[in-house]
């Protein structure tokens, strides 16, 4: 059995398991559990996106949630029925957008193409979500290109703060561009189009795409320049292009997660897409292992379920899976402490750089490239490795 065939078989088995899972979940009636399962899927998308944006390249972006917001708002504006977004309320919207009722339009197109009315209606929902999500994702990707070209040149600290600045800018726009976003009150009446199967299809596509990129020359380039920029450049890696690709791909998928989120919660507001969510996703990939797609998935699952369990400890009212982190602190405290402990004691997380070897040992994916061997460079003032016995 060649590696490729083993991988294909593994993929098929995983997909089959996923299908069974989704089908089983479809039988669950409890609205709360359904939302949790969907949230897990969305967090998987976000965690895997952050893995490619930051985990592989080592370039830490704190702005990811800004792209999620772009996806959420854009898709919401497309699918909210015109009655809920009149010009009076949102004067900033172009006429065609105010009048756009995506679900109904698509249903119309489908029946025009010959489908029966009920079928058309049934398909139009998910289709609208997909279309809206893609629109949001493309817009986010465009913004990512514009923002990424200048930012991806910068190194560690600068990039972190600059991307955080980007998040603040997006937040400021959402808060202040009332004519389009309704400011702090946000947008409501978003059709509840998200379904478990749709979310997991998106998640599967995201995981697959990032997995493929990781195994590709681009992926190797990303990992190489994380280890050592100079050496990677010497090997011919175009650092800027590599980082930019990682950034844009991450932005694209984060935006789809935003669209899915908006259509589950049926409302969007600026404070949902801010600092705390950013840190949540970071914790997911750190716990799971920053360089690992499998790790990201595991981290997302754990870090969606555990806070929910912890929230029960807070004794306050929880409104389903809709987080109100500003009001309840305990679960965040526990997470923050746990996160710091992970950073101190097991920085590589659960998986480190490794992926889960699937059923056949022969199907193990390519390992991280070993850093090129070089004579030890003279210690710069930044590289001191001091023992901790000084007082």
């Amino acid at each position: 059995m060649t590696i490729e065939r083993a991988q294909v078989l593994n993929g098929v088995v995983l997909l089959a398991l996923l299908a069974v899972f989704v089908f089983a979940m479809g039988l669950v009636q409890n609205d709360y559990y359904v939302k949790i399962v969907m949230l897990i899927g969305m967090n998987v998308i976000l965690a895997v996106s952050l893995t490619i944006t930051s985990g592989f390249t080592g370039v830490f972006s704190l702005g990811q949630i800004g792209f999620m917001a772009i996806g959420a708002y854009t898709s919401a504006l497309m699918t909210i029925p015109p009655a809920a977004k009149p010009q009076a309320l949102l004067p900033g919207l172009p006429g065609w957008l105010s009048n756009l009722d995506l679900v109904r339009s698509l249903a119309g197109v489908l029946s025009g193409a010959g489908l029966a009315a009920e079928q058309a209606a049934a398909i139009a929902g998910p289709l609208a979500l997909v279309v809206a999500a893609l629109a949001g994702a493309l817009l986010a990707a465009g913004v990512a290109v514009l923002v990424g070209i200048p930012l991806m040149r910068l190194s560690g600290h600068y990039v972190a703060v600059a991307t955080l600045g980007f998040l603040v800018i997006v937040n400021a726009i959402a808060l202040n561009l009332d004519s389009v976003t309704r400011g702090a009150r946000g947008l409501g009446s978003i059709p509840a189009l998200s379904r478990i199967w749709i979310v997991y299809v998106f998640a599967a596509i995201t995981v697959y795409a990032v997995w493929r990129i990781r195994s590709s020359p681009f992926g190797r380039a990303m990992l190489a320049q994380r280890e050592n920029v100079a050496a990677a450049q010497a090997m011919g890696v175009d650092i800027l292009r590599t980082r930019l690709l990682a950034f844009v791909v991450g932005a694209f998928f984060s935006a789809t997660a935003g669209a899915l989120w908006a259509h589950m919660v049926t409302a969007v507001a600026p404070n949902a897409f801010y600092f705390i969510y950013t840190v949540n996703v970071i914790v997911m990939i750190v716990v799971g292992g920053m360089g690992s797609v499998t790790g990201a998935v595991i981290g997302a699952v754990l870090l969606t379920l555990i806070p929910e369990l912890l929230r029960g400890l807070e004794g306050g009212a929880t409104i389903g899976p809709i987080k109100l982190p500003l009001l309840f602190g305990l679960s965040n405290i526990i997470l923050a402490v746990g996160f710091v402990l992970v950073m101190i004691y097991r920085r590589t997380g659960l998986m480190g750089n490794r992926e889960l070897p699937l059923f056949w040992p022969a199907a193990r994916t390519t390992a991280t490239p070993a850093p090129p061997v070089q004579a030890p460079a003279p210690l710069s003032s930044k590289e001191v490795i001091a023992p901790t016995t000084d007082s």
Binding site: H157, G165, A336, M343, V384, T388, D390
Partner: protein, 296 residues
């Protein structure tokens, strides 16, 4: 003319708050290569400590120094528990850990005080205006802020140029390897850096809280980012640069507030961060910077 004077004082007051934050950030970054995201929380706990102390009956004038000392202790604990174990780790780890510490402190405060803002004010005389000129009154609070900052910055300056510990601190921020090789007690230097940083940040927080009249657990977030912008503008790695950048930023903000068409004033912060990005691209070493940057 009167308007200009008022805005000038405004800018100086704002710049002073940023300067007090930026110094702490700059030193800690210089020595540890750590952007301490939790520095914003060091600003926030200052006024909250004062609040608690005054609620139990401690007079304001006594509550402030106690609060500053408490903040310093929090700073030391922060360093020992969260950052010291990571000595020698890659910079990204430190940065991420500081995010964790930041969230922790924010939520501890939320747990005890709830998430909403609370009123905060100092002694009554601070709210009055000095009738300096006929039509313009200058807020006493702004003068106090500026004066406090000047005093603290001067004291700090003396400390880092006249005492061996202070000189050691500057040296450690310049070249940590050499500092170790000549036998500087790095552990002590770091502790002092955190004490000073926390102390200044908490003073900034108390002043800031009094100026805007209310405090909340997320008080420190935006000032932290602004302080960072200040250090970048002034020159990353340079302590005088941090102070300079802070005042430049203060003036810029007031300028923007004054000159933007009214529909856009809320975007002031967004514009400032866009400016940060521009500076990082065009002149990453800032005004006084030491060429610390790595570009690709």
């Amino acid at each position: 003319m009167a308007f200009v004077l008022q805005q000038l004082i405004n800018a100086l007051a704002l710049g002073s708050i940023y300067a007090l934050m930026a110094i702490g950030l700059a030193i800690i970054f210089g020595i540890l290569r750590l952007i301490n995201f939790a520095h914003g929380e060091l600003l926030m706990i200052g006024p909250f400590f004062v609040l608690v102390l005054t609620l139990v009956g401690v007079p304001f004038g006594l509550a402030v120094p106690i609060a500053v000392v408490l903040a310093g202790i929090v700073g030391i604990i922060m360093e020992r528990l969260a950052y010291r174990p990571l000595r020698g780790a890659p910079d990204v780890s430190l940065l991420l850990t500081s995010l964790g510490v930041s969230i922790f402190l924010q939520n501890i405060t939320i747990m005890f005080f709830g998430g909403q803002s609370r009123a905060f004010s100092g002694p009554a005389f601070l709210d009055q205006r000095l009738p300096v000129m006929q039509n313009v009154g200058i807020s006493t609070i702004d003068v106090v802020i500026f004066a406090t900052a000047m005093v603290l910055v001067t004291l700090f300056s003396l400390f880092v140029t006249r005492t061996m510990l202070g000189i050691s601190m500057r040296a450690s921020a310049e070249n940590l390897l050499a500092a170790q090789l000549i036998g500087i007690n790095i552990g002590r230097v770091i502790m002092v850096a955190f004490i000073i940083g926390a102390g200044m940040a908490s003073v900034a927080g108390i002043l800031y809280g009094m100026r805007i009249g209310k405090i909340d657990p997320l008080l420190g977030f935006i000032p932290l980012l602004k302080a960072f912008v200040a250090t970048v503008i002034g020159g990353f790695g340079s302590i005088p640069g941090a102070v300079l950048g802070a005042y430049v930023l203060g003036f810029l903000e007031i300028l923007l507030a004054g000159s933007l068409p009214s529909g856009f004033t809320a975007y002031r912060d967004a514009i400032i961060f866009a400016l940060l990005i521009v500076v990082l691209l065009v002149r990453p070493q800032g005004i006084l910077g030491s060429g610390e940057t790595e570009r690709v």
